[in-house]
């Protein structure tokens, strides 16, 4: 009897301690996240994390460098540049929709929009801009919107990610926490959380692939996937991971993925935008 109640007490205390850590603020989370990878991979400079698995795997890195000699995503950047320059019938351009200068946009997305009470991704902001100029919305998972994102990523290269979770916006923290919960929640038939692969097992093999670190994940999207022979967005990669653990993927630009992007991007604050990228 005594023993049982002691067990119960300990369980509760342990749970409370866990709870307190889980409720830590974004900045504490980020510092702990960075510290984890710094101690796991002491030889990898922080700035390298934006290169994904190529920061860890030297043989793969050499092949990647050869692709980067003349990466196929250059066509996407070029198309994006042309699209960005287009003038709407209103006489305005995409640039007029953004508060930032073009070279800074990518580094400040996603952001929390207080009036709407939700996370706005760059892809959404592009479509918002179109809506504001009476243009048809672009589909999220293909073509033009990815090209524009590729162009904006390219323009922002070298700018440090600067994702904000403002203290005075409770909705922002809630969205961040929801993304964080998604990230650490096991799902699917294989019962994996994002963190199981990309924190706990980062650098290890999954069959012939090595797992990348989550730190730096959002900096290089969109990417040209050699496997697919085309460009994909960060949300498509999310969907790919969810499918890989045999869970049903969520819609692109769903609340789930936007909040996840918000959390994940915050974790990479201070790392330079280096998109678009080339991946296997």
């Amino acid at each position: 009897m005594r023993r049982t109640s002691a067990c119960l007490m300990i369980s509760i205390v342990a749970a409370l301690i866990g709870q307190a850590a889980a409720l830590a603020g974004p900045e504490e989370d980020r510092l702990a996240f960075v510290a984890f990878f710094e101690s796991r991979f002491p030889d990898i400079p922080l700035a390298e994390y934006g290169n994904g698995i190529y920061a860890i795997d030297s043989d793969a890195r050499e092949q990647w460098i050869e692709i980067e000699e003349f990466p196929p995503y250059e066509f996407s950047i070029e198309r994006g540049r042309t699209l960005w320059a287009q003038i709407f019938p209103s006489g305005k351009t995409y640039a007029d929709c953004f508060a930032q200068r073009t070279g800074k946009i990518r580094a400040e997305y996603p952001r929390f929009d207080e009036s709407r009470g939700e996370v706005v991704t760059l892809a959404m902001a592009i479509n918002d801009c179109r809506a504001g100029n009476q243009q048809q919305l672009l589909p999220y998972d293909e073509g033009e919107i990815i090209d524009i994102s590729a162009f904006l990523a390219f323009e922002s290269r070298g700018e440090k990610l600067e994702i904000r979770v403002p203290d005075d916006q409770p909705g922002a923290l809630a969205a961040y926490d929801s993304g964080k919960r998604f990230y650490y929640t096991k799902r699917g038939q294989l019962n994996f959380a994002c963190s199981d692969c990309h924190v706990t097992s980062a650098g290890q093999y999954v069959r012939a692939d090595r797992l990348s670190a989550s730190l730096g994940h959002p900096t290089h999207f969109p990417v040209y996937r050699s496997k697919l022979g085309g460009m994909i967005s960060l949300h498509q990669r999310f969907a790919g991971c969810v499918r890989d653990v045999r869970a049903k993927p969520f819609d692109l630009q769903s609340n789930e993925y936007r909040n996840l992007e918000y959390f994940l991007s915050y974790m990479s604050n201070g790392l330079a935008v280096n998109g678009p990228g080339a991946r296997k």
Binding site: G18, A21, A32, R187, G188, Q189, F192, D196, T200, A247
Partner: protein, 132 residues
Amino acid sequence: MDQAHASESGMTTATVSPVSVTCVRFAVLAVLVMIISPGCSTAEDTSASDASRCTKDFAAELAAAEQLRVAAANAGAEWIATAGLLHSAKQDAEAGSMETACALLEQAVFEARSALAQARREADAWRNRVVR
């Protein structure tokens, strides 16, 4: 996978003395067993019963299974194959292949229940994985 589990229990036990490790593990295990058992018992029931069991009212059982799938989806925990299993079960039943229809239906129910159990388990378990 092993590593993931190891770190999970590592997070919990790091804050308590070695003696209590066992009881925390026991507590966690007990809770897990309680959560998982409804799903398990269903699976055992069906395997014990004969194949004609689900043909009594296939439509009703299919609807119930679909409800379970939706519940799992609403919890954000649906597995990838469940909807497809239900779809195939329905098609097989319509074609009169009740044996495979029932087997598929049972598999779908098992998946949906497991997904729901996973979601209940993860309601708190995710916190133990947070890097700190």
